[in-house]
């Protein structure tokens, strides 16, 4: 693309490109301008063609280019830092192009080696962020070392989590023993990212041990970690939080119990998680969903339970149950169960808003797509209650398509 076609040459002010204000940071003495920085100066908002050519050149000499670029990074975010950042980004993206594994590997290696010589935390974190995108198992030890420094701890932990390998998981687990305070808690929580299959079997217990000593403020992050790991031992704590005074902590606990019910490996553990939800909120959507997610849908054995939930006075629960009956259950036996429920309860006038519930059931029958419901729905066209007749008409239309209303009227008459 020619430069003449550009509408805006310096997005966002592009002060560095215009040679704007320079900073004299303490680290500037360590700077050096060699071939890499000469190339970097041309990469600020470069045309792609120029950028690609420069990236290729830089990658050919990654072992020398990366230290040179790294030496020009510092917290003052001066012009050299900006240029070096562009160059490192070009190398990172070019080296990660599919099919360029040797280049990725040599770049990652050079980035890891440069970590020790970084001028300050900001500079080190720029390098770590590049490793977050292209790093692999070989870079894990260098990143794990960065966990020991407060200023690079968060960035290194993000990078290790993003690498996501067993090697990265074990590096975090191994350094957990010597970690203290916030870093210990956060590292424990990070272990959940790697999934149960990758984990050392002791990891869930390690995280639970950290939770036992954690402050109340840190507990939600560790609940989430243990829920991700499928650690059923956390269920009672979650149940307690769900019944506690803090609605925001209850929200986390509710989400964690749902997640736990999904992630537990044994039926007993799943049951324990669901039981905590039910103890706190028997008639709620999260309880219902957790139960439904862990029961068979094919045989329709859950349909009576869902019909009970559809009778809830809580309209959120009622509609969620109705939607499950519509979307998750097929077959005429389910239709028969719903019709039977309707008929058994049709004289249950003592119940709250029975007309409303009947309309919900009619709507469910209309939207399940089972034409076996049609005769029953047709019979409701003679119901003494106008709202029921109207619901039945709409349900039949949903079921059969846009029927000729005159035919329906004829049927009624």
């Amino acid at each position: 693309m020619s430069k003449e076609t550009k509408k805006v040459q310096n997005p966002g002010g592009g002060r560095a490109q215009r040679g704007g204000r320079r900073h004299s940071g303490a680290a500037s003495g360590a700077k050096k301008r060699g071939p890499a920085m000469t190339a970097a100066a041309k990469l600020v908002w470069a045309d792609a063609k120029d950028g690609e050519a420069a990236a290729k050149q830089l990658l050919k000499s990654a072992a020398s280019a990366v230290p040179e670029l790294a030496a020009n990074l510092n917290a003052s975010n001066d012009e050299a830092t900006v240029q070096a950042s562009f160059a490192l980004e070009a190398m990172t993206m070019a080296a990660s192009t599919p099919g360029q594994e040797p280049r990725r590997s040599s770049l990652a290696s050079a980035l890891a080696k440069a970590l020790d010589g970084a001028a300050d935390d900001v500079a080190r974190n720029v390098l770590i962020r590049a490793l977050q995108l292209v790093g692999g198992d070989k870079e894990v030890p260098a990143l794990a070392k960065c966990l020991e420094h407060e200023g690079s701890f968060d960035a290194a932990l993000l990078a290790l989590r993003q690498i996501g390998s067993e090697e990265a998981c074990l590096a975090i687990a191994n350094s957990l023993a010597s970690a203290k305070g916030r870093r210990r808690t956060v590292q424990a929580a990070a272990l959940a990212d790697f999934g149960y299959s990758c984990c050392h079997p002791d990891i869930p217990d390690q995280v639970a041990g950290v939770l036992a000593k954690a402050s109340p403020a840190d507990a939600p992050m560790l609940w989430a970690a243990l829920a991700k790991l499928g650690y059923a031992g956390v269920a009672p704590a979650l149940g307690k939080a769900l019944k506690g005074e803090s609605k925001s902590r209850a929200a986390v606990a509710r989400g964690c119990l749902s997640l736990l019910a999904r992630n537990c490996l044994t039926e007993d553990d799943v049951a324990a998680a669901i039981a905590e939800l039910f103890k706190a909120e028997r008639e709620s959507v999260p309880s219902m969903m957790a139960l439904m997610d862990n029961t068979g849908e094919e045989d329709g054995s859950s349909v009576p339970y869902l019909l009970g939930m559809a009778s809830s006075e809580d309209k959120v629960v009622q509609e969620a149950a109705a939607n499950l009956l519509i979307e998750d259950f097929v077959g005429s036996s389910v239709t028969e169960t719903i019709i039977h429920y309707y008929q058994v309860h049709k004289d249950d006038t003592g119940k709250h808003d029975w007309s409303g519930l009947r309309q919900v059931l009619i709507r469910v029958l209309g939207r399940r797509g089972d034409v076996a419901a049609r005769p029953f729905l047709m019979s409701l066209l003679h119901d003494p209650e106008a709202a029921i007749r109207k619901s039945a008409m709409e349900a039949i239309e949903n079921l059969m398509g846009q029927l000729d209303r005159r035919a329906l009227v004829a049927a009624i008459l």
């Binding site: 509408k7 805006v8 900073h23 830092t81 950042s85 974190n125 968060d154 929200a251 309209k315 409303g356």
Partner: protein, 428 residues
Amino acid sequence: MSKKTARAAKSPSKTAPNIVKSETLGSAGRPGANDRINHAVIGLGGMGQGHLGYVLKDPQAKLVAVCDVMQSRVKASLEKVGGDCRGYRDFREMIDHEDIDVVHVVTPPHWHALQNIYALDAGCDVWAEKPMTRTIAEGLHIAEAVRRNGRVFRLNTWFRLYGAFYGLGVDIKPLKKLVQNGLLGWPLTVRISAHTGFAWKASMWTGKLGLPPEKPPADIDYDLWLGPAPYKPYTSHRVSPSFRGYWDYDGGGLADMGQHYLDPVQYILDKDDTSPTEIEATAPWPQHPDVVGLWGQVEMKYADGCKLILESCEWGPEETKDKPFIEGPLGKVYRNFRTEPERLAELVVELPDPEPQISDFNVSIRTRQKFGLNELNGNRSNILVHLANCAIRTGRKLHFDPETLRFRNDETANRLAEQPMRLPWGLL
């Protein structure tokens, strides 16, 4: 994919919503037809003020709380709204102390998924700002939280539902009618550029290079502003309202306007349950790792040959000039509904209307039916924004799997699309 995840990832139903009359609802703590709905707004910047306006203008709504990490904004908003509305710095404290039906999430996008999910797990419905999330992977977490809690979710763009579609000069209903009745043929190409009526604000939302670090003012809780984002030294340009120019929080003009422009297109093309498979960008390259820059063109192709061409008209060539907004083998539609052949414009009145959609969030709240633009179709249009930005940043053609929502054979692109959050923040 687990049963649960599979459910969350389900496409929105293609059947018309069965709208329950709101007068039949409203008990057991849920708002009934005559109850006012309690709203709370998190994020009180420019868009936050817009959301305060939405609530204050709605006779069915009551604003009970506002929240922002900048205390001056909380104070100013409380003075503006008056009454017994209360202010908070931390959204968790707001959830603890208030009885809220609907939470408006109007913070920068790096907070969207977290706060949406917090509100959903707290039993609230959500009115969320766009872009729906900051990364591709976050969208499914929101969809799952909506599902597991039985809540309703509204994304704050509306052009698939009503309103003149920006500079196109027409709402999208006639376009939808032409497309769904096959009058333009298939596959279709859609051009979204200043020439077809859509300004991408690319230069408006670029960041600034080389800003020296500053001390955060006392007014802002900077650590809470950063939240799940990686720590970076404070500069005043990094935070509101210019946060869109930094990758850690948003994605420039493309992310600002993308869902406004692209969501209706997905709807017109009937792509609410899929995504493009090939994405290629023309832009300055490399991009800066922190600061969002300009871009020129992004082309996205679907598996069936349909194509989207996004052009910023602020960098690079302009290939969409004098081209139609939408074009198929049988017809074209230009701005102001000029068509080729001309008779298409006349024919459209005879065509059947598209399926109805719920366009009033109060109806969704009271009937518990999905809003027209919800967590599922909203996530699909949100994905387009992030696909485009991933292509701009990597500088290469990307191949995307619309089922797994991952790039094919491109680990680094996937690392951009699914990033961990800075602990203690994380998604359930």
